[in-house]
């Protein structure tokens, strides 16, 4: 084997093994998260024209369809609705009151497709862990980690996220939990309660960061009874398969 052959194998095997080791050990590590945030921040600059073009086209399409005014009205009503629901259902002090801050989804890792997304808003925009994220007025998840310029949102379909919820028609309290494959379940409803398909589910009072009453979805089927409690399968109102923009419910107490 000549010098060129040796050089070939050094470069080939060196890069290949480095790639394999990285792929095996880095997903989910803190260092990898930091590197991804850095890559997202650096790429924000060359990507700016594409993002601006996309936003301009979307605005033009909205305008052409006569939807701009309607969207602004929906935004205003969403905000007003959040405030009213908060006032109606609790007397807690939300500080400055709930505000909505729009963020673009900059990453949705295939390996954790039903668990988390990253958005281009961070502590600099007032985001904190625990804040809710909504799409068209319906909850999609909660902020789990925050960086200065980006945040990770744990989705409702994540198996490690538990959200206290209320059945709107009966006011029964339960806990929502994902299965990690797109399915979402309502837990801890006593078996003697007979909830019906179609009943609405919304957030219950959990903390001073997630306002109560944010719509989540509807009951679509009754599941097994375990230890005196019945499971109910839910259909989410938010479309998690078309998640490109979300609004973060900011404000409230830390």
């Amino acid at each position: 084997m000549g010098r060129a052959g040796t050089r070939y194998w050094i470069f080939f095997l060196g890069t290949l093994f480095l790639g394999l080791i990285l792929a095996a050990v880095s997903p989910g590590s803190l260092l990898s998260d930091k590197a991804m945030d850095l890559a997202g921040w650096v790429m924000k600059f060359p990507e700016w024209p594409a993002r601006a073009l996309r936003n301009a086209v979307m605005r033009t399409v909205d305008l052409a369809a006569g939807e701009k005014a309607l969207r602004e009205r929906i935004d205003r009503l969403e905000k007003e609705n959040l405030s009213l629901r908060g006032l109606l259902q609790t007397t807690i002090n939300f500080g400055t009151g709930p505000e909505l801050r729009e963020g673009h989804v900059t990453m949705r890792p295939p390996v954790s497709w039903w668990s988390e997304i990253r958005v281009d808003r961070g502590t600099k925009d007032g985001l904190r862990p625990g804040m809710g994220a909504i799409q068209d007025g319906a909850l999609v998840g909660r902020v789990s980690r925050v960086e200065p310029n980006s945040s990770w949102i744990e989705l409702l379909t994540s198996p490690s996220l538990y959200i206290p919820v209320v059945v709107e028609e009966t006011r029964d309290l339960g806990v929502l939990n994902g299965e990690g494959n797109g399915n979402v379940w309502l837990l801890y409803i006593p078996a003697e309660k007979e909830l019906r398909v179609g009943m609405g589910i919304s957030t219950a009072l959990v903390s001073e960061q997630l306002p109560p009453g944010i719509p989540i979805g509807k009951i679509v089927a009754a599941g097994d009874e375990i230890g005196g409690y019945r499971l109910y399968r839910l259909a989410l109102t938010a479309e998690l398969s078309r998640l490109y923009r979300v609004k973060i419910v900011t404000g409230g107490k830390p």
């Binding site: 290949l16 997202g40 060359p46 490109y244």
Partner: protein, 152 residues
């Protein structure tokens, strides 16, 4: 090597601009295939840029650092090895087309095959391959036009 980075940037910008509208073919692997064919006798210079491009892509989009990098390195090595062992002949444009398209098919389908879900799932994956077909045809036309072979 600027072709590789230009292709990488084009793919990244299109991914941002067309996310949720149209699937974007993997221009990086197409450029890498072109370079592997043109440098099939000494492809070692491709491995580091391929690794870097794949790693940056993973950090930006897939969250599995190293996955795309490994597929890029394997694609470059395989194409260069195969091309270097072919005798010059008239069928080379057809083989070029098949090699490049196969490389794109394997590399871009890997996330779908591994995780079985993603943006739009199977239908989007098929649409991406259909768009890649147009790009590979254009690249083959460019190959014929340039008359570039490793043996000539």
């Amino acid at each position: 090597m600027w072709v590789l980075w230009l292709a990488f940037l084009a793919r990244d910008l299109l991914q941002v601009a067309l996310s949720g509208v149209l699937p974007v073919p993997d221009f990086t692997v197409l450029a890498l295939s072109w370079l592997a064919v043109s440098r099939c006798r000494d492809p070692e210079g491709l491995f580091l840029p391929a690794f870097a491009a794949g790693l940056i892509w993973d950090l930006r989009w897939t969250a599995i650092p190293g996955m795309t990098a490994v597929t890029y390195i394997l694609a470059a090595a395989t194409i260069a090895w195969f091309w270097a062992r072919m005798s010059p002949g008239r069928g080379k444009p057809v083989l070029f087309f098949l090699l490049v398209y196969l490389a794109h098919l394997v590399v871009s389908s890997l996330p779908f095959l591994l995780f079985r879900h993603g943006e739009g799932g199977f239908s989007v994956s098929v649409a991406q391959q259909a768009m890649a077909l147009v790009c590979v045809l254009a690249l083959t036309a460019l190959y014929i036009w340039s008359g570039r072979t490793s043996h000539e």
